[in-house]
């Protein structure tokens, strides 16, 4: 009996290890495409990245497809955005996969939101106020400054879980940091004249982007976070626009622009699509392209 058991164990181990050993050194599951891009940049050849969500989808509402369970099951580490952005879809996948390496609060699990300063933390938490994030606005990656902090966080994380390659990760980070600093200067210059512009959004996705470049968000099309537009609130928004004269409506790619178009028609201000992640629009296939687009969109 004992003999069969140990034999079975061996076969089992073989079955489990075989597909992983054929791949790169580390297989890292990440929730969103931007984390995938950063991890690939820092990890280089030694890291295989598996992105769970698609960039064109609303990051709050990802369908927990069973294929994601397999991706999680086969991962060596997990990097998530955090700040409750994944709360509606990631927990059942982590639980079903039963992978000790991707369990929260383990050495191989990274919650990025713990490493940046979140803004707009609500003073009181009550669902009367809509679907709010108790820890603050979780869309912190739409800010070049934060991207650099996140890259550093990922570099430290990878170095910790894969010590032998830490020099490579460090070099990759330094290379990235150099290029990114140049780009940040370029984007800053581009956005200089936009400082102080008032904007309307659908959902406060761009809080960190606006903060970095001095844009002022004066209202959202949804009456409360996560609550679909109502006619009453739309009329109030039209009044607000007439009074405050914002430049434009900055709109995400996944909500319908129906209400925004209606408001635009009534007030004459433009609706501008603002991608929130890589793949959100067709030509945006890397992080620089994302910020090139965002910093050129407001004309």
């Amino acid at each position: 009996m004992r003999h069969t058991l140990s034999n079975m164990k061996k076969i089992f181990a073989l079955l489990t290890l075989l597909p992983l050993s054929l791949l790169a050194n580390l297989n890292i599951a990440v929730s969103y495409p931007y984390i995938g891009a950063l991890t690939k940049t820092i990890g280089g050849e030694d890291v295989k990245v598996t992105v769970l969500a698609k960039g064109k989808w609303d990051p709050h509402f990802i369908i927990p497809r069973p294929s994601l369970i397999s991706k999680m099951r086969n991962a060596d580490a997990m990097i998530m955005n955090g700040g409750q952005l994944e709360i509606g879809w990631l927990p059942p996948i982590i639980n079903r996969a039963g992978n000790p390496k991707t369990m929260p609060n383990t050495k191989t699990f990274l919650n990025l939101s713990h490493h940046v300063k979140l803004i707009n933390k609500p003073k009181s938490v009550d669902r009367k106020h809509g679907d709010i994030h108790p820890d603050g606005n979780p869309h912190f990656h739409i800010s070049p400054k934060n991207i650099l902090i996140l890259a550093k966080t990922i570099e430290e994380f990878l170095s910790k879980i894969d010590m032998k390659n830490r020099e490579i990760y460090k070099k990759n980070y330094n290379d990235f940091s150099k290029v990114w600093h140049q780009k940040m200067a370029f984007w800053k210059k581009k956005m200089k004249e936009k400082k102080g512009l008032k904007v309307i959004q659908f959902h406060d996705n761009l809080a960190y982007f606006n903060k970095e470049y001095g844009l002022v968000n004066i209202g959202t099309i949804e009456p409360l976070p996560g609550i679909p537009p109502s006619s009453k609130h739309t009329i109030a928004t039209i009044e607000l626009i007439k009074k405050e004269k914002p430049c434009c409506i900055l709109h995400d790619v996944y909500h319908s622009t129906k209400t925004a178009d209606f408001i635009s028609q009534k007030t004459g201000i433009k609706v501008i699509l603002m991608p929130h992640d890589i793949e959100a629009l067709e030509n945006i296939d890397n992080l620089s392209a994302l910020f090139d687009y965002l910093t050129s969109a407001i004309k």
Binding site: P19, W57, R65, P66, S67, S70
Partner: protein
């Protein structure tokens, strides 16, 4: 010294009032409030208008399959009710759900089902989180992962009632048992999961192993129909899923086998007990196409087939005990369209198309065209509150005279959730 006394007196005074004002929670030395598990409460209410009255409904059944299925009925000393049992207003349940990790190796979940008749522990189980290799072990009272719908709670269903084939083969709770479950997710690039469960085997419609006392019928002291040893129910399944662009398909095959003891000795007319072996086969298929982040179309269908083989002990007249062999099969198929965060609508077709009941080898010619048609529309004010209008046409029920009684039902259901409730899996 005086100062200390004064302060401590003051403190005592405050403590008596509201200690939270004195010290923030995270500064209290032995405070454990951070460890409070996720708590949620889900309540379900409905308003029902049915074409027949409650008393008539409680006497209807599916010939050779199940009877006394709907409406409130007393069973084994406890009063049970199906969802939407009464005409007019129904309080279906208030479900209290607690869940938390236990330590680095386990998590624990429990669901308490409160109704006007009392509290039932619907689920209470611990799950391993650290086995690795795709393995997961669960023990306690649990919903079996047989098929697709069995493991889902009522509040996650797309219709307010259970599919006919589930309800009539397994009862309103499905396979909800005490036992152990082992699941293994294969290290494949696509989803492949296999599971095995050993369960106590106590289901009022299909499985059972307890002895039934028949002293009151035979007059023989301590006379009973002998049960078998528990655990006596074994369930196995395999599930796989693939993505094709924005379309996801999930398919599964399931099998359950166990001892059967169906106790109808409480029936007013023709009391009887069935003892034998039971087998249940299942095949499920789900396809979901996401049009965008909020719009989707979901097709869900499950086929169930069962075989019961044993002896029926008729506890009336001549006390006959014929051999019974039942082969019964049915399916449901439903299509649900989610329009946006507010609106959802769907249709469902239910059928039991095979109903072969052999009595001592002779066909009893039971009806095998038992159908039900349903349509629903839902409005969600948020993720936490939904209101559903549903229409059912049930053409599967027969009265005690063997006549078909079609039932039309309109129900308006409110399902409301508060607190921290974990997201659902696919």
């Amino acid at each position: 010294m005086k100062k200390i006394v004064l302060t401590s007196m003051l403190c005592a005074g405050f403590a008596y009032g509201d200690i939270a004002q004195l010290l923030e929670a995270d500064k209290r030395t032995f405070d454990s409030s951070k460890y409070i598990p996720d708590i949620s409460l889900i309540a379900d209410f409905s308003y029902v208008n049915r074409s027949i009255n409650d008393d008539e409904l409680s006497h209807l059944g599916l010939p050779g399959i199940a009877h006394g299925l709907y409406a409130e009925h007393a069973h084994g000393g406890s009063n049970e009710a199906t969802y939407n049992a009464n005409q007019g207003f129904n309080f279906n349940y208030a479900e209290l759900i607690l869940s938390s990790s236990v330590d680095p190796f386990f998590s624990m979940d429990a669901t308490f089902h409160f109704s006007e008749h009392g509290v039932e522990v619907e689920e209470a189980y611990f799950t391993t989180t650290a086995l690795g290799n795709g393995l997961r072990l669960r023990g306690g009272k649990l919903l079996s992962n047989f098929g697709y719908m069995n493991a889902q709670h009522h509040h996650y269903w797309d219709f307010g009632d259970m599919p006919l084939v589930y309800e009539s083969f397994l009862g309103t709770h499905g396979i909800n048992e005490l036992g152990a479950q082992l699941q293994w997710t294969a290290p494949t690039p696509f989803y492949l999961m296999a599971g095995f469960e050993v369960l106590q085997g106590d289901n009022e419609q299909m499985f059972g192993n307890g002895s039934v006392n028949i002293e009151e019928f035979t007059g023989v002291e301590e006379d009973s129909i002998e049960g078998t040893d528990a655990p006596s129910l074994y369930v196995g399944y395999i599930k796989s899923s693939f993505d094709f662009g924005d379309t996801t398909v999930l398919g599964g095959l399931s099998y359950a086998q166990g001892d059967s003891m169906i106790d109808h000795s409480d029936d007013h007319e023709e009391p009887h007990v069935f003892k034998g072996d039971a087998k249940l086969y299942g095949a499920d298929f789900v396809a979901l196409h996401a049009i965008d982040s909020y719009r989707s179309v979901k097709w869900q269908t499950e086929w169930l087939s069962r075989e019961l083989d044993g002896t029926q002990y008729n506890l009336y007249d001549a006390f006959t005990s014929p051999d019974i062999n039942k082969k019964q099969s049915g399916l449901y198929s439903q299509l649900v369209y989610t329009h946006d965060k507010n609106w959802k609508m769907g249709v469902r077709y239910d059928t039991i198309y095979q109903n072969d009941v052999m009595l001592n080898g002779l066909d009893t010619n039971k009806p095998d065209d038992l159908n039900k048609y349903s349509a629903m529309i839902e409005y969600h004010t948020s993720e936490f509150a939904r209101f559903r209008l549903q229409y059912n046409r049930n053409e599967a029920m027969y009265n005690e005279d063997g006549l078909r009684q079609n039932i039309d039902t309109i129900s308006l259901q409110a399902n409301i959730a508060i607190g921290a409730h974990a997201a659902h899996s696919f």
